[in-house]
């Protein structure tokens, strides 16, 4: 066989550096953002920016060393978070951020490993990994941005979509029951479980801080508006309108059993820090229960 191939345009390092010079270093958070990656791809009114900056603020106030922290994402609008953060970041396959993070954490136990992904990524295609990582009490922080639909692919229904809600794949209204993510994480063994909305940025920052200070499987659900995918078909208005709903309909109830934590489309939204408990992590148990015996034997 002979080949006839085209000459691709080369990578232009000069242009890339120029872009960095022009765009990077202006915003106070830029220390935490990858040079040359902003502007981001998210829609106006999307809640993802708020979650990202809350994460940065939490990390900053805990003085987490940037080079001691890795962020792993799956695929989706939320999955793009990894790509904006100026640290070791891994954008994996749909649903597989948690097992990738598991391998990374076990190879680098001294690093903070954070998983950032969407509700579809973590609870539909990746649901099995989430419950098993929680069961093992793998030392990971999982931040799940729940916008009640598949944003990236254009607003299809997923495992969190409210009953009767309209999406492009539930034009007659959704007939499936949604998961209560916090309840599932708790039942699977998570040692820290919280739910906030993008309206609760300050609480969210506190939760992020707690996660950096705590060992084990920590889970934060953040309800966010997706005006493009979920807002439009359900007539929820703009991202700002959604924020008003979060303000008016949310009730903070710390320490409740997550089973009772509703988050209806129009009804009350229960937020708070539901679970904070202690349990040895996988690696602690592995070190004491396995490594110690193997080297003694």
């Amino acid at each position: 066989m002979r080949y006839k191939l085209v000459d691709p345009e080369p990578f232009r390092l000069g242009e890339f550096k120029q872009k960095i010079d022009e765009t990077h270093g202006i915003h106070p958070d830029d220390r935490y953002l990858k040079p040359g990656r902003i502007p981001h791809i998210w829609c106006p009114g999307c809640g993802l920016g708020i979650v990202l900056s809350a994460f940065i603020k939490g990390m900053d106030s805990m003085e987490v060393a940037i080079d001691n922290c890795a962020v792993v994402s799956g695929i989706g609008c939320t999955g793009r978070v990894a790509g904006y953060l100026n640290m070791d970041t891994y954008h994996t396959t749909h649903g597989r951020a948690i097992p990738f993070a598991t391998g990374l954490k076990l190879a680098k136990p001294e690093m903070e490993v954070v998983v950032f992904s969407g509700d579809g990524d973590l609870f539909a295609i990746g649901g099995n990994h989430l419950i098993h990582a929680a069961r093992r009490n793998m030392d990971l922080t999982v931040i799940c941005v729940n916008n009640f639909n598949y944003g990236m692919t254009g607003g299809q229904a997923g495992p969190t979509t409210h009953i009767a809600a309209k999406t492009v794949t539930t034009p007659y209204g959704n007939c499936e029951y949604p998961f209560n993510l916090t309840h599932l994480a708790y039942a699977s063994g998570a040692v820290y479980v919280a739910r906030w909305t993008s309206f609760h940025a300050r609480y969210l920052i506190e939760s992020v801080k707690k996660c950096f200070a705590k060992k084990g499987f920590k889970f934060i659900e953040v309800l966010t508006p997706c005006p493009t995918g979920y807002g439009r078909p359900n007539r929820l208005g703009s991202g700002l309108d959604q924020m008003k709903v979060y303000r008016d309909n949310s009730e903070i109830r710390n320490d409740i059993n997550p089973m009772e934590a509703e988050s209806g489309l129009n009804g009350p939204i229960i937020v708070g820090e539901f679970v904070d408990r202690e349990k040895p992590t996988f690696f602690e148990r592995y070190t004491e229960g396995v490594l110690a015996k193997a080297s003694a034997g």
Binding site: L5, V6, P8, E9, P10, F11, L13, F16, K34, G36, R37, I66, D67, N68, A70, V72, I75, A82, G83, N86, M87, D88, T89, Y90, H91, T92, T93, R96, I98, P99, F100, A101, T102, G103, L104, K105, L106, A107, K108, E110, M111, N128, H129, H132, Y286, V290, L291, K293, A294, S295, G297
Partner: protein, 383 residues
């Protein structure tokens, strides 16, 4: 046997699975993630016992998708890592094997082939995953797959697979089969100082200056792992030399071509074949893995009967040794006999290079290997 030694120098009686596990540990593998499946389970069992003794991590994941993802994560954490499976699990790993190709992640995947498709023959031999090893994940990428034909080779080739994966930065596949995996034979483990321990090249440039996905002369970028200060973005999306996602035809052209070419260009360094009595042969038997053991006997039988038969054994099925088959075809051999436990996956490759010479596929669908007579008959048919 001292449990805490990583290289168990000496003579052992091991099956192919155990030998693979020992090869991995001897190569410096310190992370194994897997899910039980016959006939690869003995690898996991050996790793569960041996890895903790050398301060490594063994973890049983919830499935093979997770196992493959964890292996990639561990490799980015700077640890040599491996998983082992068989057909159904190999199928589940495919998407993340592709991720490993895109992220250029060194690691080793051992597939102990059994009869397929589907659950097929869980306990019996097959060689039907050869094309899946080549093309199983979507898109284009270069592949390396080694095919051991004895427990000794399972040991040696697992070490070699780690070396190749570190050198070329990709998941390397050890494509063994149930017969080799479960067969017990003498395995000689050399002294540690005689074993190669190849490590991925580190960037020489400082963070900020290092272009993490620029290939350089050998097309293989040096690799900075997590926690080393490089703050890389590593993605399965098409990316530029910085590693940043770029959804354009030209970024795709540069990246995918390099992923293919880094293997194509080094095919000469990677390909390993072994020939016996091919100099004057008019019939060449091309075989690998379990089938090559019988093929050797058949060639001996043919020679005893005065037929000019020779054996070309593939130690790497991918990249395929196009050049050598072409040479033999050009030299004017009558043809090629290709016994394999599938319906002609490598025979098709041989035919592609055989320039019109006769190719006789001796196929078994799985569950048993060829008898020497069956391959001998094929040789006779051709001379």
């Amino acid at each position: 046997m001292s449990k805490s030694r990583d290289v168990l120098t000496g003579e052992h009686f091991l099956n192919g699975d155990e030998a693979s596990a020992e090869g991995a540990i001897a190569a410096g593998c310190r992370f194994f993630a897997g899910y039980p499946i016959t006939p690869a389970t003995e690898i996991a069992e050996r790793m569960a016992k041996r890895l903790p003794a050398v301060s490594g991590v063994y973890i049983q994941m919830e499935d093979e998708i997770a196992s493959m993802a964890a292996v990639l994560g561990a490799s980015w954490g700077g640890t040599k890592s491996m998983t082992a499976t068989s057909g159904p699990g190999f199928s589940l790993m495919m998407e993340n094997i592709g991720l490993g190709m895109m992220m250029e992640t060194p690691c080793v995947v051992v597939n102990i082939m059994r009869g397929g498709p589907s659950t097929g023959l869980p306990t019996l031999v097959g060689q039907g995953d050869v094309m899946q090893a080549r093309w199983g994940s979507h898109g284009d990428y270069g592949v390396i797959a080694l095919t051991p034909s004895s427990p000794q080779e399972a040991f040696d080739m697992t070490i070699e697979a780690f070396g190749l994966s570190e050198k070329y930065r990709l998941p390397v596949i050890v494509l063994s089969d149930e017969l080799i995996g479960h067969m017990y034979e003498r395995v000689v483990i050399p002294e540690k100082k005689f074993l190669p321990r190849i490590r991925r090249r580190k960037p020489r440039k400082a963070p900020g200056e290092h272009l993490p996905f620029q290939g350089g002369e050998d097309l293989v970028p040096p690799m900075a792992c997590a926690g080393e200060g490089y703050r890389l973005h590593v993605t399965g999306l098409t990316h530029d030399e910085m590693g940043y996602p770029v959804i354009t035809a030209s970024a795709q052209e540069r990246l995918v071509r390099r992923l293919c070419d880094k293997i194509r260009r080094h095919a000469g360094d990677i390909i390993r074949i072994e020939e016996e009595a091919t100099e004057d042969a008019e019939v060449i038997v091309v075989a690998y893995g379990c089938a090559s053991r019988t093929a050797r006997e058949s060639v001996h039988m043919a020679r005893r009967e005065g037929m000019r038969a020779g054996l070309l054994r593939l130690l790497t099925v991918w990249p395929f040794p196009d050049g050598r088959i072409r040479e033999l075809a050009a030299r004017g051999v009558k043809g090629f006999v290709v016994p394999e436990v599938n319906y002609g996956q490598i025979a098709g490759e041989v035919e592609r290079c055989a320039a019109g010479r006769d190719v006789l596929m001796v196929g078994l669908m799985g569950g048993a290997v060829h008898t020497p007579d069956l391959i001998l008959e094929a040789i006779k048919e051709m001379v």
